[in-house]
């Protein structure tokens, strides 16, 4: 390996690790049927609550053990990545778009616009989200897209608040005044000067909003208003495993690890991306 490429690896190690985790997770989701030993819903009642292979009584047949119905945790984890990743990403992205837009409008225009948007944010934060979600999903009907929209509604306030705060500090910078002083119009000022300089916290919020969306999706399925609970997802597995935490810790632990690892990947990649997008940080 040449000196240059090893230096590249070293400098960008955080981004590479993050990207590797994300790409691995995506590959697992895409090629699930090829990787999983059995299907997600195949029940093996003789092997109920079997421990993972490295614990006494476990076998290679069920690498990560089985749940209370004898379903293979390893296979469910692989199939579950599909819903969890799709919902997590879609909800975090949609929330980012809505929230950033609202944050920019509130921060830049201030006054009544800010008043109305901030009022919505405060109301939503004060209102129990589960209640809102049940109401909305009851009205919209369940399904993937409805769940993504409802989850985006759960996360947009996070973005709106940090973007608004950031815009408030950026909009009084001299370069914004300087842009207006050479006749740059409002939409372009907002986009190239104010939003471009307000993106750093969005990436941070995105990484924890992804986790929040994955978990909330499971809670909604549990309540019977979200995605069909028979479709495996990491969040749903976590829920199922809660009752067996004393007897069979592996049911909840492995999906928990999967979520944590995915979020870590998003976080590392986001951190690296933020540094790369800032020309001030040395290359």
């Amino acid at each position: 390996m040449s000196a240059l490429s090893s230096r590249f690896l070293l400098r960008n190690s955080v981004g590479i690790i993050g990207a590797t985790i994300i790409l691995t997770a995506v590959a697992i989701a895409v090629f699930a049927p090829l990787i999983a030993p059995v299907t997600a819903s195949q029940i093996d009642l003789r092997a109920r609550l079997a421990p993972p292979f490295f614990v006494d009584g476990g076998s290679i047949k069920h690498l990560m053990g089985t749940d209370n119905l004898g379903r293979d945790i390893f296979s469910r984890l692989i199939y579950g990545s599909r819903i969890s990743l799709a919902v997590g990403t879609a909800a975090a992205l949609l929330g980012a778009v809505i929230g950033s837009l609202m944050g920019i409008l509130a921060g830049y225009f201030g006054g009544k616009v800010d008043g109305v948007i901030s009022w919505f944010v405060d109301v939503q934060l004060a209102f129990p989200f589960t209640l809102l979600a049940i109401f909305l999903l009851g009205t919209l009907g369940g399904g993937f897209y409805a769940v993504v929209i409802v989850l985006a509604l759960a996360t947009w306030v996070n973005y709106a608040r940090v973007v608004r705060a950031q815009v408030l500090t950026v909009k009084v910078q001299d370069y914004v005044l300087a842009a207006r002083a050479v006749g740059v119009g409002t939409p372009r000022t907002l986009w190239r000067y104010i939003f471009a300089n307000s993106t750093a916290p969005i990436i941070v919020v995105a990484s924890f909003s992804t986790a929040q969306a994955i978990l909330t999706q499971a809670a909604l399925s549990f309540l019977g208003v979200g995605i069909d609970p028979s479709i495996p997802s990491w969040g749903a597995m976590l829920n199922d495993g809660r009752d067996y935490l004393q007897k069979a810790w592996w049911i909840a632990t492995f999906p928990g690890l999967a979520i944590a690892l995915t979020v870590l990947g998003v976080n590392l990649f986001g951190d690296w991306l933020r540094d790369r997008l800032d020309p001030r940080s040395a290359r």
Binding site: Y175, A178, V182, G183, D278
Partner: protein, 322 residues
């Protein structure tokens, strides 16, 4: 005298209860340099931003008897018309060039912004023109520098970039708001020379805001002294320094630290502080700090013409001594 480029009469700027600019009148002729001095908060920058229509409409209340640029009334212009004017006909240079440049855009793009907007160039030719402008403002290796970001420039080089941006629209009037305050002394001299050279080459009108009186003596044709949001004196530059009329101007000149004076005679500070701008001021705003105040100062003195081109607002100068 030909028609002034910028003609302002009785300009008032209020931010709610804060009355920042109080009845300021002045004019700038083509090719002329008007110096504006005054301490922080005296309304120098606020006045110029008001001329350019850069105060947020919801916060600032700008009114004037006359506010004309090249014979056109600025107060009746729409936002779009003002945007066409800014950058194209009036350029603005800021005090802190690092703060005034977008950290996420290359300097070439930032100069190009003006060229595309105001001179209708396409991206390709805007880049070439930006490089030429950088070269003209004395940035070495302009080809390479155009694709760099502001943080990669030194203070003096950044100010050259700002000047290139201000000149990109080929303005008739350049407003320089303390363009050298944030720079170290050797760089200051270069920037001053650069701005003067460009002004002479283009015949632009120039408004130079500063609180550096020594610098002012070198750059300005006429000087306007502001105190508490109002003009207290205006005079040709040699007259002002030779014979300051207003006690505030005299105080300002007296407060310059001079090494050629004997010890103890050097710099005298003006006692007291300027009045709060959110209170109504009755009488002469400077009276509480004035060494020669008398009973007439309880009424506001008008700005009156004394000699050719000299105006001052002080009861001591109107021949009505107590």
């Amino acid at each position: 005298m030909s028609r002034p480029l910028l003609d302002v009469k009785d300009l008032d700027v209020r931010f709610g209860p804060l009355h920042a600019v109080r009845g300021v009148s002045f004019s700038v002729a083509p090719g002329e340099t008007l110096g504006v001095v005054g301490e922080s908060g005296s309304g120098k920058s606020t006045t110029m931003l008001a001329v350019l229509g850069l105060h947020p409409k919801r916060q600032a209340n700008v009114a004037a008897d006359r506010l004309e640029f090249d014979g056109e009334d600025l107060l009746s212009k729409s936002d779009g018309q003002m945007r066409d004017l800014r950058g194209r006909r009036v350029g603005l240079i800021f005090q802190d060039p690092l703060a005034a440049l977008n950290p996420l855009m290359t300097v070439g793009k930032q100069i190009g912004e003006v060229l595309i907007r105001h001179r209708g160039l396409d991206k390709q030719s805007a880049r070439g023109e930006a490089v030429k402008l950088l070269e003209r403002t004395g940035v070495p290796d302009p080809m390479r520098r155009a694709s760099q970001f502001p943080h990669q420039f030194s203070g003096g080089m950044r100010q050259r970039v700002m000047i290139a941006i201000a000149l990109a629209g080929r303005p008739d009037l350049l407003i320089a708001d303390e363009p050298t305050t944030a720079l170290d002394v050797t760089v200051q001299a270069e920037i001053v020379r650069l701005i003067r050279d460009i002004q002479q080459a283009n015949g632009m009108g120039l408004v130079w805001i500063t609180h550096d009186l020594a610098l002012m003596a070198r750059v300005a044709d006429r000087v306007m002294v502001m105190y508490a949001g109002a003009v207290v004196e205006e005079a040709p530059v040699d007259r002002l320094y030779a014979m300051p009329r207003h006690p505030y101007t005299a105080g300002l000149l007296g407060s310059i630290a001079r090494l050629d004076q004997p010890r103890g005679k050097r710099a005298r500070a003006i006692a007291g502080t300027p009045p709060a701008m959110d209170q109504p001021i009755s009488g002469c705003a400077f009276a509480p700090r004035c060494p020669v105040r008398f009973d007439k100062c309880a009424a506001a003195p008008p700005l009156v013409s004394l000699d050719e081109g000299v105006r001052a607002a002080c009861w001591r100068l109107t021949g009505e001594q107590a």
